[in-house]
């Protein structure tokens, strides 16, 4: 891990009118680090993720990103075009529902290749080879390259969505409940895959989940949110094995131990 943080988040709050989305969230994320944001529904985790990924404008606070040129840029002061460019090159966003992150009516190969074409790749053979390679890496048979995601199972769609996001070698990936809606054995495979990819590529990731097992398996650090605020954060193992806040203790103890 390098010495400077990739993302610096300072006192980020988001209000929906008088309602609180999230408030005074601060943290730093280092390259290669996986941060899990956990909490129950309505605790503000998704709002926070949307603010971080510039899908929502925070009401206050500052989010700075360490650009490839070595400078920190305040996301709120970047132009729309610049932000969009960042999103399709240096960042990835994995939605809970793959249909939101994929183009369901174009082939798997084109889904993976889209980002390459968007950044100016103009060689069909190379794009296709890269797409095929990525399908293999996410354990989709290469002969499915011309099939549409509509013909894929839920787990395959989710893996395709991950491939589509990682093809431009992003440095930061946001994941919103990546295993939601998948059955347990498929979840396990997906988690295994994500863990491998994150490790191999040195990705930094922010994973929003309500599933503590996902946090345990994937993340180095975790933040527990309640009513829009971060109530506890620390190393994942420390938080899960020795929770300090009463709410975290409740959360941890409510998991079925098998």
């Amino acid at each position: 891990m390098s010495a400077v943080p990739l993302l610096k988040v300072k006192d980020v709050s988001k209000f929906y009118g008088s309602r609180i989305g999230c408030r005074n969230v601060s943290f730093e994320l280092y390259p290669g680090e996986v941060l899990a944001v956990v909490g129950e529904s309505g605790s503000g985790k998704t709002t926070l993720l949307s603010c971080l990924s510039t899908r929502l404008m925070p009401s206050s606070g500052m989010i700075e990103y360490h650009m490839r040129d070595g400078l920190y840029r305040d996301l709120a002061h970047m132009g729309e075009a610049e932000r969009r460019f960042l999103m399709r090159t240096d960042w990835g966003f994995v939605h809970q529902n793959p249909a939101e992150g994929l183009r369901m009516t174009v082939s798997a190969g084109a889904n993976v290749g889209e980002r390459l074409m968007a950044v100016g790749d103009r060689h069909y053979g190379n794009i296709r080879a890269t797409a095929g390679d990525w399908l293999r890496r996410v354990e989709i048979e290469e002969d499915r390259i011309d099939d549409q995601p509509r013909a894929f199972s839920g787990g395959m769609r989710q893996r395709l969505q991950i491939a589509r996001n990682l093809v431009t070698a992003p440095r930061l990936v946001f994941m919103d409940e990546p295993t939601g809606g998948l059955d347990v054995s498929v979840q396990a495979r997906l988690l295994d895959l994500v863990r491998g990819l994150v490790h191999d590529l040195g990705l930094a990731a922010i994973i929003v989940t309500h599933d503590l097992a996902v946090a345990r398996l994937l993340s180095h650090r975790m933040m527990v949110m309640k009513d829009g605020a971060v109530i506890e954060q620390g190393l994942t193992d420390r938080v899960l094995d020795d929770p300090r806040e009463p709410y975290t203790q409740l959360l941890v103890s409510s998991i079925l131990q098998v």
């Binding site: 075009a81 084109a110 889209e114 074409m117 069909y124």
Partner: protein, 154 residues
């Protein structure tokens, strides 16, 4: 889309074409990049005529009905058809000139003549074709001025 210069999707369309058909099968509404910046769909124009838009001395107007807009390409503007390095833009090639007026390097329509595989290729621009015929140009299948023989030729 134009402001953000997000045109990746246009190439996705061409990619899908190659993946499905082995070549770019789009023959009209073929996307072009204008002045290295704006991507435009010159919709009903066959792609055969795309190269003619490049550095054209005419002012070109395109009506976008659904957007309630008119787009104009100024004279002497760079217009380049999108493509892939390994699947370059190509226009249709016709083996024979127009069957009626003998014109070459024009876009030809295929006309099926019977159910035994008979066909002819004639200018898509009928006005241009008739104009040429009036000026004495003739293709191999042009019926001489007897109206009956035209029927018989079919």
């Amino acid at each position: 889309m134009h402001a953000l210069e997000e045109y990746g999707l246009m190439h996705v369309k061409l990619y899908e074409d190659i993946a499905r058909n082995g070549h770019i099968a789009t023959t009209y509404a073929y996307p072009v990049k204008v002045e290295g910046r704006y991507v435009m769909d010159p919709s009903p124009t066959p792609k055969f005529d795309n190269p003619k838009m490049h550095m054209s001395e005419a002012l070109q107007l395109f009506g976008a009905g659904r957007e309630k807009r008119i787009y104009a390409v100024p004279p002497y503007t760079e217009v380049v058809s999108l493509d892939f390095e390994d699947h370059p833009f190509e226009i249709q090639k016709f083996d024979k000139p127009c069957a009626l007026c003998g014109a070459e390097s024009v876009y030809l329509d295929e006309v099926v003549l019977d159910d035994k595989g008979g066909r002819m290729f004639v200018c898509s621009d009928t006005d241009h074709c008739e104009d040429r015929q009036a000026h004495g140009h003739a293709g191999p299948m042009l019926a001489r001025p007897k109206p009956e023989s035209q029927e018989a030729a079919e």
